[in-house]
């Protein structure tokens, strides 16, 4: 069955790679657009028919590419991760200022790798492009982050998941008085990612 695989057939493995790649660019875009890191730390990269700024900082790249995203890919393949949250906190007080939440829905009943589903890769990329562009557009309404901030990634997984040693349980980092804006969603026919951003609301 795998021999008849075509470009537009998407396996679970391929879908996990697409979603993981989206998170790399999505997270980078958030970090640049929200000014969590200085613009000098970013370089331009063409992706999804857009110019996205990605980080050049070695430690950040290690964190994303070597530690977090491979693990996310594995969890996506197993279908155990339900939600990814990018938390932006104030450095001094550790108060959460923004939460970018991406619901990950594993579609389909069978977790098998065998039967690929058809969805044109161009359609998926167009959907991802729309989400990235929407992240870019949010700077117009999100409140200015005036204090030095750091970010963190939270993964909501199944209860019975055996996490590797470098991982620890975290709080949900909720924001007490928050406003929420829903973002677009995209799906690879295997995974559906549904974004939203909530931010501290003050009159």
């Amino acid at each position: 069955m795998t021999s008849t695989k075509q470009l537009n057939k998407i396996t679970l493995k391929g879908s996990a790679a697409i979603v993981s790649e989206f998170f790399f660019y999505g997270i980078n875009n958030i970090l640049y657009q929200r000014g969590v890191y200085p613009p000098e730390m970013f370089k331009q990269e063409k992706k999804y028919g857009l110019t996205i700024l990605t980080t050049t900082d070695p430690s950040l790249l290690t964190y994303l590419n070597d530690n977090v995203l491979p693990q996310l890919t594995e969890w996506l393949e197993r279908g155990v991760v339900k939600r990814l949250v990018v938390v932006i906190r104030e450095c001094e007080t550790n108060e959460t200022l923004e939460r970018w939440q991406f619901e990950i829905e594993c579609m389909g009943d069978d977790k098998e790798n065998s039967n690929p589903r058809e969805k044109d890769i161009n359609v998926i990329n167009a959907e991802i492009k729309a989400v990235i562009r929407q992240i870019t557009a949010t700077v117009t309404f999100l409140p200015l982050l005036e204090v030095p901030c750091s970010f963190d990634l939270l993964f909501y997984t199944n209860q019975d998941l055996e996490a590797p040693e470098q991982w620890e349980d975290s709080s949900a980092c909720l924001i007490a008085n928050s406003e929420q804006v829903k973002l677009r969603s995209f799906s690879t026919s295997r995974h559906k990612v549904d974004g939203a951003v909530s931010y501290k609301f003050s009159m």
Binding site: L154, T157, Q180
Partner: protein, 532 residues
Amino acid sequence: MSSQFDFENEVNSLMRLDKPLQAGPTARWQRKANDISGCGNLSLHSKSLNVSQHLSVNYSPSKNRSMSQSVNKTPSSKTRTPNSSKNRTPGKLKPSSKNTSLNRTPRHGDRFIPSRQATNFELGNYRILSENDEPAPTGSLAEEDYKRRMSENLQRASGVGGEGRILAFKARPAAAEGYHNNTKVLYSSSKKSVSDRKKTRHIPTTASRILDAPDLGNDFYLNLLDWSSNNLLAVVLARSVYLWDASSGDITMLMTMEGEEEYVSSVKWMPDGEHIAIGTSEAQVQLWDIASSKRMRNMKSHAARVSSLSWNDYILSSGSLDGFVHHHDVRVSDHHVATLTGHSQEVCGLEWSKDGRHLASGSNDNIVNVYSSMETKPMYSFTDHQSAVKAIAWCPWQSNVLASGGGSADRHIRFWNTHNGSCIKSVDTKSQVCAIRWSKHYKELVSSHGYAHNQLTIWSYPSMDWVQDLMGHTSRVLYLAMSPDGQTVCSGAADESLRLWDCFTLDPSHKKKPKSLSNTASSKINTLFSIR
């Protein structure tokens, strides 16, 4: 007493009890509530099963001492009472949709509600008797409130209950040390010091003339200012197009939109200066003759307001809120000759190159497209801007160089080589770029900006060194136009004023002898504008 039994029968037979009861029973309850005190009343208030007993007690408030006795006499009332009392005492109530009139009951600290309507009471009694086995409605107010608050925090109520784990990688990414948000820098950017500047020539830093422009549209996406080759400045004030003769200072009104809600969204002079194209909120592109002040054509092909216009000989290109660019051949009746679909949002910047071989368009979808001649597919599509691109200008001395400026989230001016589609240079202006004009005489360009300083900035090209800021506007400078002699720049801002800047004045000693008609016009302007 017999009336009480009638009443009981009525209660038992009533199917629909929403209608208010007569004044009689209400008065009784109020009276009783005022009179009686003590714990015995609890059972009185509760709907006891035996209505007759209940009512008989109620009837004579003076007998309230014996009430508890009479209630106790009823064997079933003991078991019933706690149940019903729970449901009827508003202070303790779990709000339920079953008791629809509940919200009307005023809440008092006292558990005996003096102003309760008798209707409530009997309705409840009836319901208790007839629908005792009905399941309680789910979702109390408190629970809903809880859910709402949880969803506000992007947290599904189900997810909180410890069904899953929240994991984070232990080695968290470090925050950038000693770094302040770049947007913060944007909003607190300071003026450049004079020492930054390369002195080449004297540029007056104040406007040579300020014109009042009431109701000048404050809309980033529109193009409401243009200067003709005949030295007429066209400016749109709300619904009307005015022409200001820069030579004489005369003002004439060319046209006004008819409807209250209609407005003019763009103006562009034909290169001959005899005709002007006007884009409107009603999606029309109108063509007006200046000599006769008459409308010559009304071309409607767009679906939304026309926010940008550009001429290439007899071809008029129009960009619209619907995301399309249309080419109109103004000579023929079937004017709509081509549609360019390269944008998904409002096309707010549109300019043909000086040689008429390329068209550049900027849009709210952050993309700059370059089209070759009349092609409908873009030759190049530049996605580097991170915000809407309204400022578009072709270099007058290098036909393949295009300058584009991005909005408030981008703040960059970028230069493109349209021969090979590469980005030559980009410069961060620290403020939104609303318009760009190249100088005809110097290797310079001027850009207009918004927050924080609402300035015009002159840059030298290709070094992109900062030359001079022109301050004066108190709100973002949305529109720029250049005089036909290229020495004066007119800026229109959201502070409803037009300012004229003699920033590209030629040095008289280097001035060439007038060769063309436009130079004679320019000398006229000089006498008018310059303050000596």
